[in-house]
Structures are given as structure tokens and as C-alpha cells.
């Protein structure tokens, strides 16, 4: 057992500089510590699953990385260099793209407007180049969702899966290096879930690092290389998905019990050590 743990730690060391490293991150909302000295890392071409109950702090931690929240304490490194991420624009400038659980789409405008929201294409006169944006949108949507035709309608009128593909298109269209997916399959049917799975594998092959936040253990075991479990704002532990089984991970999520094959974090039960 110990040997296995050592070997996984070794693999860890040999991979060089992580793509993202969040060190000792804390944030509090009105006295409640939503994230409490959490550390997490991600390597190129890797999928790291982030697990935990509702309110465990995983979405909050990830929103700090995407710039939606500003951390109270801690540091973020991208490829070894410390970076300041104070708002969503900073995060995007670092190549960090996020697909939010709520999708974060402007419901009243069309797919192209959502795809380019915040970085609109413009003509040489500085006006919006709607035609060019629609053309690009047709291209990228054609790859993700070939049956999509409703380019002129506000996204409010689209189905759950179509809205999801707009959100995904927005995240991958701008050469993301780091992709954050917050419950990407929560609103989807089985077929669309499989599509998202395929997409994750494809992006991984392109060397993009992905944080996958999910409630669904099966998803995480299928898609993630490693997983990190959080409880009450603290990291319980991090493990390679091949080193742990469902029950052990459930024990981490529910009881905060860190199994021997995982690297314990500050949130792990003391008795387990």
C-alpha cells in the first residue's frame, strides 16, 4: 500500500510544472469560511475531478480561479508563475475558460452574441460584425451540435442540450488552456452526456487541463485522471482515480475519511491518518 502511494507521488513529481496550482486558498463570506486553506493542482492534458457535497466549497474554489470571486488568502500559479486573477477578464487573459452550472448565458440574445459575449468581433469602423460572428458561430456549433439551426433565436428558446452546447462552444472557441466544467452534464440526457464525455477526451488529447466538478461519481471515474474531495471548505484528499474505489471516495465525501492511497489534505479526519 505504502509503495503504491509512493509511486503515485513519484508520478506526480516527474510531470514537471503544473499548469495550474492554487496554494493555500481561503475565502470567507460574512464569517463563514467557504474555502479554508485549500490547495489543488492540474497538469496539461489532465482531468481533475472535484467532488464534495453541496456547500463543500468546490464551486467557490473554482470561481476564485475563474475570477468570479476574489480570494482573501493564497496564491495562484499558472505554469509556475504567480498570477493576479481579480475578475473574469483576468482569468480569460490567462486562457482559463469556465462552463458554469447555470450556463451563464444571456437568455435574451442569440447564440452568436453569447458565444462572443465580452470579446465581440468588430468591423474596421468599430461596430459589431454580426455577420462574421454568426459565420464563426455556425462553424463551431456545426462541430459540437450539427443539428443546430436556431441561430437567430434568443437562447431562451433553445433546449437544455442546445444551451449547453452554446456554453461549451463559448469555452472552447477561444483557445482555452484550462477549462473548468461545473456540473457539465447535470441538465443533459444520456446521449448528450456521452457527447460531453467524448469532447472532454478530445480536449484532453489536445493538452488542455480540465477541472471537472461533478456530483456523479461514475462521470468522475470515467473521465478524470485524479480527483480531489472537499468537505466544509477544506480539502479532504487527492488521489489518482485508479488508486481508489467508489466506496473509498464516498467515505471521503461523507465522512472526510482519507483512504491510504490518497494524499490527505487539511480537511482529512485525524483518526484516519
Amino acid at each position: 500500500m505504502n509503495a503504491k502511494k509512493a509511486s503515485s507521488a513519484k508520478v506526480h513529481e516527474n510531470r514537471g510544472t503544473p499548469l495550474v496550482e492554487m496554494k493555500d486558498i481561503s475565502i470567507a463570506f460574512g464569517g463563514i469560511k467557504a474555502v479554508d486553506h485549500a490547495s489543488i493542482d492540474l497538469y496539461p492534458g489532465e482531468v481533475v475531478g472535484l467532488l464534495g457535497h453541496n456547500g463543500a466549497g468546490k464551486s467557490t474554489l473554482i470561481k476564485i480561479l475563474s475570477g468570479a470571486y476574489k480570494r482573501d488568502h493564497g496564491e495562484i500559479f499558472i505554469e509556475g508563475k504567480p498570477v493576479a486573477i481579480n475578475n473574469p477578464r483576468d482569468a480569460k487573459a490567462q486562457g482559463i475558460e469556465t462552463i458554469y452550472q447555470t450556463l451563464a448565458l444571456a437568455d435574451n440574445v442569440d447564440a452568436a452574441a453569447n458565444l462572443y459575449l465580452g470579446r465581440e468581433l468588430r468591423t474596421k469602423f468599430g461596430t459589431l460584425d454580426d455577420v462574421a460572428m454568426e459565420a464563426e458561430c455556425r462553424k463551431v456549433m456545426g462541430r459540437l451540435n450539427p443539428n443546430f439551426r436556431r441561430f437567430k433565436e434568443p437562447v431562451k428558446a433553445l433546449s437544455g442540450g442546445q444551451r449547453q452546447s452554446v456554453a461549451i462552444a463559448r469555452a472552447i472557441h477561444f483557445n482555452a488552456r484550462i477549462l473548468i466544467m461545473d456540473e457539465p452534464t447535470a441538465a443533459l440526457g444520456p446521449q448528450e452526456t456521452a457527447q460531453v464525455g467524448e469532447l472532454i477526451k478530445q480536449l484532453k488529447a489536445e493538452g488542455i487541463g480540465i477541472f471537472l466538478i461533478s456530483h456523479d461519481l461514475h462521470d468522475v471515474f470515467d473521465l478524470a485522471d485524479r480527483l480531489t474531495v472537499m468537505k466544509n471548505g477544506r480539502v479532504v484528499g487527492t488521489a489518482h482515480t485508479s488508486d481508489v474505489d467508489h466506496d473509498e471516495v464516498l467515505g471521503m465525501i461523507i465522512a472526510g475519511k482519507c483512504p491510504p492511497n490518497a494524499i490527505p489534505g487539511p480537511g482529512a479526519l485525524r483518526s484516519a491518518a
Partner: protein, 448 residues
């Protein structure tokens, strides 16, 4: 299949034809409804006023005459200018209750500068007075709006409260500036902004220039339709059918030339013509001379503002962000839109528009009082809402709101023409507002 449908339910296939027409031309159905309402109001008033007193109107009344419609357009312009800004504010899920008071305050400031400061300093009628006071007035309005926006965006005070405070504060400030007096007369060049005749200089551009403008508008409509088609062809997007393009182009041109003909059919009053003849010494043919007003300055300002604001709303990043923020503020924020800055800018813009309306109103009255623009905020909001702006945010068009302003003003002018008491007018306008929103709700539910 379709044939079967037709025989079984002819009414539905008929509806289908209208729906097909609307889809092909991309005309908004509620827009069409509003135009219909406007025409009903106009025809109704003309017929009704014909019963009371015979007139030269289209249906024997006194409403559909060039004179009345020309005045109607001038009267609409002040509200129409402000409503273009109100649309964007409501789209962003805010409200501005202070526009009437900002109008009052900026107009007394402009008047005070003209009458008490610059007039005595530079000599009354100095050619720089109107432009200096106009610019300072616009800056003042913009600064007040930016101040409101800052309180809303950065201190987190709800816009309803900030502008309710503004409604009271700026009305009070207007009184404080002139201690309740009426300040008059305005600068003689400035007066032209109101569309009236100053001496023998008209606040309108005359027949020739109006026809040229009408022709330019027609050319612009045709070019816009053509350009759109070329662009869509370039990227192989679906096109509107050819007949729909022709329909839009021809309707647009008829409308533009029709309005031009209308404003060119209203002539200077005889007294002014006589003075003009005396001053210029031109020869008068035996049948007398008719000098047409043409487009008036306030109407041109309103048209320009409408065009500019439509451009801003639909063709620029700024407008896109306003609508996206109204649709989902959180999403816009996450996409990197600085919604706070946007809020300040939108209220500053509203302040500038209120100052433009202040110039139009005070120039038209040739005076300023601290009561100028009272209740305008309500008419402006009403016009925007009648024009299809959703108070839930995210939805609304500039042209719809301007049309809404025209509907409101038509009702008011019509009732004035019929000698309705002002109490009756208020009751009718209030009821129409509520009814219009009810119809809109029903329509939206049907569409869903």
C-alpha cells in the same frame, strides 16, 4: 398534407399567411399592432373632431391636417428623445424617475446662463451664446446622470430610490436657482431648437432641404437593405425572399416621402410671411406666396437621436452589453462585462438626453420655469413601456419606444383638440397605459 389542412381549417391557413408574411419581412407583430393603434387613434380623433367642427382633415375633422400633425411631431420630440435612453435603462433592469426634474433643472440653468450671465456679458444675441449654453447644459445633464449612476452602481443603492431622490432634489434645485420666477426670453438662436419662428428665421429647414432629406432617407433605406443582402450572401446565410425586400424598401420610401410631403404642406402664417417679404424685399406674385415649414429642428434632433441610439443599441459593443446585462446580469459579469461602469454610462447618457429635451422644451416655450418637465418621467416611462420595453429587463427597442411616445402624444394632443378637461386627459392616458401593458402581456403569452 397542406391541402388537407386548408380544407379542414381555412382560418388557420389564413393566419399562416400573415405569420409567413411577418417572418419573411422580419416585421415584429406587436410593432404592427402599435402602428394600427396609432392609425385608429388618428382617424378616430379626426372623425370625432369633425362632428364638433368641420375642418380640413382627411376625414373632415381637424386632427389629420398638416398643421396639427406637424405640431404633433414637434410636441412628441421632447419625450421621444428621452424615451430612447429610458429604454436602455429599463432594459438594464433599472428605472430613472428623475428625468423630468433633470430636465427642469438643466433648463433653468441654461436659461439663467443665457439671460443673466452670458447675455449681459457678451451682449444679448451674441452668436456664441446658444452653443456655449447648450454644451454646458448637456454636460450638466450628463454629470447629474453619472452621479446617479455612480450611487447605483458603486454604492449599491437601488435605482428606484436614487432617482426618486433625484426627482425631488433636482426639482427643488430648479426652484432654488430661479426662486420660482420665469426666466425669459431665451437667446434668439437657441430658440430655433424649439422649432418656432424667431423673428423671420424659422426653426425648420424649409421645403427644398426637406425633400433632399427625404430622398437621402430613401437612399439610406435602400442601401441598408441591399448591404444586408450582400453581407448575408457573402457568408451563405439564409436570405429574405426578394418580394419581402422590395416590400420593405417601397414601404420605407413611401413613409419617408409621405412624412416629407406632410411637413412641406404646412405653411408659414401670413403675418410672418408679410414680415419676411418686408425684410427681404422680394416680389410677391399676385396669388401670394406660400413658404413651407419643412422638417422642424426638434423633429430632426429627435430623428437624429433615435438613429444614433438605435445604432448604439444594436451595432456597438456598448449596446450588446446593455442587452446582455439586462438578460442575465451574472452571465454578463462572468463574461467580463464591467456592469458597474456600464450602469454609470447608461445613466450619464440618460442625463444628456434629458438635457437635450430640456433645450427643446425651453426653446419651444421661449422661457424656463422650475415646473418645466413635471411628470415627464412618467410619460417617458409610459412611452417606453407602450413601445414594448419589458420592465423585467432585457427586452425593448428604440424605435418601438419612439412610436410609443407618438401614441401617447397623439392621445394627449387629440384630447386637447377636443377640449377635454385636463383631469379627463390624465384619466384616459393612465388607463391606456395599463391597458397597453395588459395587451402586451397577453400577446407575449400567446407567442410563447
Amino acid at each position: 398534407m397542406t391541402a388537407v389542412d386548408n380544407t379542414q381549417n381555412p382560418a388557420r391557413s389564413d393566419e399562416g399567411a400573415i405569420a409567413r408574411f411577418l417572418r419573411a419581412t422580419e416585421i415584429d407583430a406587436r410593432m404592427l399592432g402599435m402602428v394600427a393603434a396609432l392609425l385608429i387613434i388618428w382617424v378616430g380623433f379626426d372623425i370625432y373632431s369633425g362632428f364638433l367642427r368641420d375642418g380640413e382633415g382627411l376625414f373632415g375633422g381637424s386632427f389629420l391636417t398638416p398643421r396639427n400633425l406637424w405640431i404633433l411631431l414637434v410636441q412628441t420630440s421632447s419625450i421621444a428623445v428621452m424615451t430612447t435612453g429610458m429604454v436602455l435603462i429599463i432594459v438594464m433592469r433599472h428605472i430613472d424617475l428623475s428625468v423630468g426634474s433633470i430636465l427642469g433643472f438643466t433648463s433653468v440653468c441654461i436659461a439663467t446662463m443665457q439671460v443673466f450671465w452670458l447675455g449681459p456679458m457678451l451682449g444679448v444675441g451674441h452668436p456664441s451664446i446658444w452653443i456655449v449654453t447648450l454644451i454646458l447644459g448637456l454636460l450638466l445633464g450628463g454629470a447629474i446622470g453619472a452621479f446617479h449612476g455612480t450611487l447605483i452602481a458603486y454604492l449599491g443603492i437601488p435605482s428606484f430610490i436614487v432617482t426618486l431622490g433625484g426627482l425631488i432634489v433636482w426639482r427643488g434645485a430648479a426652484w432654488a436657482v430661479i426662486r420660482g420666477e420665469t426666466v425669459a426670453p431665451m437667446d434668439k438662436n437657441f430658440k430655433l431648437i424649439g422649432g418656432g419662428i424667431s423673428g423671420i428665421t424659422p426653426g425648420s429647414i424649409g421645403a427644398t432641404a426637406s425633400w433632399i432629406l427625404g430622398a437621402v432617407i430613401c437612399a439610406a433605406i435602400i442601401y441598408a437593405i441591399y448591404n444586408n443582402r450582400v453581407q448575408r450572401k457573402r457568408f451563405n446565410f439564409p436570405q429574405r425572399p426578394m418580394w419581402a425586400e422590395y416590400f420593405l424598401a417601397i414601404t420605407g420610401c413611401i413613409l419617408a416621402l409621405g412624412v416629407t410631403w406632410l411637413v412641406n404642406s404646412y405653411y408659414w402664417p401670413k403675418g410672418v410671411v408679410d414680415r419676411y417679404v418686408q425684410a427681404t424685399g422680394i416680389e410677391v406674385p399676385p396669388e401670394g406666396i406660400n413658404i413651407a415649414f419643412g422638417y422642424s429642428v426638434p423633429v430632426l434632433i429627435a430623428m437624429g437621436v433615435g438613429l444614433g441610439m438605435s445604432f448604439l443599441a444594436t451595432r456597438t459593443r456598448f449596446g450588446r452589453y446593455v442587452y446582455a446585462t439586462g438578460g442575465n446580469p451574472e452571465a454578463a459579469e462572468l463574461a467580463g462585462v464591467n456592469t458597474k461602469k456600464l450602469t454609470v454610462m447608461i445613466f450619464a447618457l440618460m442625463g444628456v438626453l434629458a438635457a437635450i429635451s430640456a433645450s427643446i422644451s425651453s426653446a419651444r416655450l421661449d422661457s424656463a420655469t422650475n415646473a418645466l418637465g413635471q411628470f415627464d418621467e412618467l410619460y417617458v416611462i409610459a412611452a417606453a413601456v407602450i413601445g414594448g420595453t419589458s420592465l423585467a429587463g432585457g427586452l425593448g427597442t428604440i424605435y418601438g419606444a419612439m412610436l410609443g411616445a407618438l401614441v401617447m402624444q397623439s392621445l394627449q394632443s387629440g384630447m386637447t383638440l377636443l377640449n377635454f378637461e385636463s383631469a379627463t386627459k390624465d384619466i384616459v392616458v393612465g388607463c391606456v397605459l395599463v391597458f397597453a401593458v395588459f395587451v402586451d402581456q397577453v400577446y407575449r403569452r400567446r407567442v410563447k
